[in-house]
Point group: D2
Chain length 283, copies 4
């Protein structure tokens, strides 16, 4: 037994050679798939701001080819004085946008007590700051929804896989790993996007791996280049921030693409995904 991977009883490819493929009901009755031959784009605003905003962005990203809608309702913020998200109301607007467009939704959970509110959410996101909130991971191991697990700001690959393992030991094996940039000494961008972790994770684990170039760089002008690079490096999907009016966004506007820029990017990504031997979007 390979000593490197034996510590990952559930996440290791050694014990589960085939790629994990996560399939949900997508828009227009078609399957929305991440993993294996399918590369999925998750798009939407950093935060849900109101019903019109999220529904409008949902329609725009759907049209451009996104398969999942993202939008934060419960936002973990470094400062207690920053906008903390709309909470329950934001969740309702997100689910309204889901109903309107058919796009399955993904949103971040920040504490165990919120789980009951997430019944109609399709994929639950665990953010970078909670990657080692083991109490939360344990609870998420008991539910029947895919979990998007973001790598911590300074977490090693081993720690990311062991965080997945914390969830999987509870019985929930539908985990999507997400690289979103790590801390470094340089400051030309918010974080350093570590794309080499994609082939490294794919070798060790059967779990799908996606990339969030928006949080990784913090700069919308870098998102297209890094999105393409992520696909070229073997990513199974992307999470991209799109906002109808980035300059007025309540959170992280500087890193959000406009719907127009997103549509142009999706056209490029179509070709990169084909070159990588995968299908972009709905099955």
């Amino acid at each position: 037994m390979n000593p490197d991977t034996s510590q990952y009883k559930h996440a290791s490819r050694e014990f589960h050679p085939a790629d994990t493929v996560i399939e949900l009901l997508g828009a227009d009755g078609k399957p929305a798939v991440i993993g294996g031959d399918y590369c999925a784009v998750i798009a939407g605003p950093c935060s849900v701001e109101n019903r019109e905003q999220i529904t409008g962005i949902a329609a725009a990203v759907k049209k451009a080819g996104a398969v999942f809608l993202r939008g934060g309702a419960f936002k973990p913020r470094t400062s207690p004085y920053s906008f903390q998200g709309m909470g329950k109301e934001g969740l309702e607007y997100l689910l309204y946008a889901k109903k309107e467009t058919g796009l399955p939704v993904i949103t971040e959970i920040t504490e165990i007590s919120q789980i009951v509110l997430f019944n109609n959410v399709d994929i639950i996101q665990v953010g970078a700051r909670n990657m080692q909130n083991f109490a939360l991971l344990k609870e998420l191991g008991r539910i029947h929804k895919p979990i998007l697990l973001k790598r911590g700001h300074a977490s090693t690959m081993t720690e990311l896989l062991l965080a997945a393992e914390h969830i999987m030991t509870g019985g929930n094996d539908r985990i999507i790993l997400c690289e979103r940039g790590i801390r470094s000494f340089d400051n030309y961008a918010r974080n350093i996007l570590d794309l080499a972790i994609i082939p490294a994770l794919k070798q060790k684990s059967h779990l799908p791996v996606i990339v969030d170039p928006s949080h990784a760089t913090g700069l919308s002008r870098m998102v297209p280049a890094m999105a393409k690079a992520a696909i070229a490096a073997g990513a199974d999907g992307l999470m991209i921030e799109v906002h109808n009016d980035p300059h007025k966004a309540l959170c992280d506007g500087e890193q959000s693409l406009t719907p127009e820029a997103f549509a142009i990017l999706m056209d490029s990504l179509q070709k990169y995904t084909e070159l990588a031997g995968k299908k972009l979007g709905i099955k």
Copy 2:
């Protein structure tokens, strides 16, 4: 108003020039104090393992001059397959040791639901991995106990102060900040102990700052040098791991001092504390 500190409405020295001094009832009816003119040593094992172990170590560290007893009951562990602590039973043994020795106790909390179990705990520790578990911080802002807040593995000074601010906005202003080593590219020790954050924090904030040289280095042979250096750099206290039989410790034995080595270190620290113009131990 200084733009650097205005974001810390509660933690900033600008709004609260005097040092925060945290005083609890210590052993033998004397006050146990951290901050201001008092430098306190918190000692004990990484994990509570059984009643005899924790009581024995408590007696030994008390004799050597420790003012608080530490001991983990709920342990956040990178792997789900590592020892997770004794939980509730461990807490009972820790409180038994408190009763036997009179030493006030400090132990780590890992989720909100545990708060009710911590009624007789004197100081609640938030570990590095939970420094940005804002839901937990918010709850801890509502209780009337001092909180020991450990800096995250890769958290900036600003993030540490804002995490304290998350607690303080709830009304709990008795926060002790703790430097415990940060991530770096080198691997001669587990982490890099960042002692310069002590004068930097003391300038910006009125909160007491302590150092954990045991977790910072992961190597018991480095603990004495770094403990002395921490005091020389202006620390208001130390958190030091002591185990009666480090080689058999269930967790982090490699970084634990024996009671004998701890007693010798305390003798040295007495002199370093005097040189720093402070008193070591009980008021």
Copy 3:
């Protein structure tokens, strides 16, 4: 004037909006080009080991589409007890391979006194450890050969551009910048390949930017994914280690591709380069 870029009088795009294109005489009398519409692959062994080795590899990488041949003769090694390269003799073998194949050659310089030996070398490489060897940079500013400047292990983008500026103030403006991985806390690969620096550099500067995925990861199995990602991110070229017998290489065998693996990779890269709107190889 943008305060960000005004410090780069020569390297900044502000003062020189058009891409710098470096064109040399390539194999078979055709131009070998880096920059603008041309994406060039530099390939070869870490170290020149003997005449047959370098000539054989040169023929193989030429056949697969490489435009430049690399091979170290003067090797900066962390330990004085490691193989230090063949020196002058290695340089002679490299130039022999150039004569045999027509491939222009690139090799690393480690001290000023070697400059006289580099007369027939086509591009002079400054390695990561010498990126801030300003005395060397100054001398290289006085000669008429393109310089490949590798980013230091922990150098910021600003420092890389200012190192280029040190050369350019002397009058030599044919600089190729090279990202080769930076230090981090993780150890699943040798370094973290920072691909986002490509769009960041291309925005600030007119200089061509290439990527060395071999040194960045230290693992040959990661090279293809990262080479494709680099092209997708906008790189103007790649530097890839190829060795006829990686297991017996005197230096860095673990990161070298075999000639067969390199030829397969070049086929893929052809398509990624086209998608990026560039031409791979000789004009």
Copy 4:
């Protein structure tokens, strides 16, 4: 044989158990010593600016107890547009100050060709950026002067010891190692001062280890705390920047102490050195 240290044939304590003690002729005919029982303070300005400046500072730091005078003549600067030092003229002023005060001098070398100018310099400094300039190290291995070797911005302990080994294989075994701060993700100070490397280095090697708190923090207000901490951690000396008029310094004024602040610090350091069982200053 311990596999950790066997790679350091000359620097390892395994092969040379006793501390290396470096003794030079100091001011007033007394020995100036670093290592073993002696802890020496090297003080002076970042750069020599003119004869009066360096001579005045020399007299002031001598009076306060400094044993060596520092002052840069050849300055490696990130930008080619920053002040590069006075060069040869600066060296002459530094030697004039030596003659006036009797203080042995230490100054930085940046290229091999300068060695001939350093005949009357007492200790030659290799700066952080040149720690792996192996050609320079090799040349310094052939001369008979102590070398102060600064740790690179992102060099590991192993790399620092191997850089010393590069010098020592040439026959020069009088090396002083210097910790001067490493790169990290935080920016409250210029670098992170890594004091734990002191006990780590002292365990592995017999070479003296000193600390430069001025470059490490970049902030004069942090220098006293970190200087004391360095001594408490076991340092064999300190290198401290002192400038008669920090606000007008041509280089790094923000990190320089005034002569008055330096004198006050030296009084404190006297006590910390005694506590560490060492003597401060001249034998």
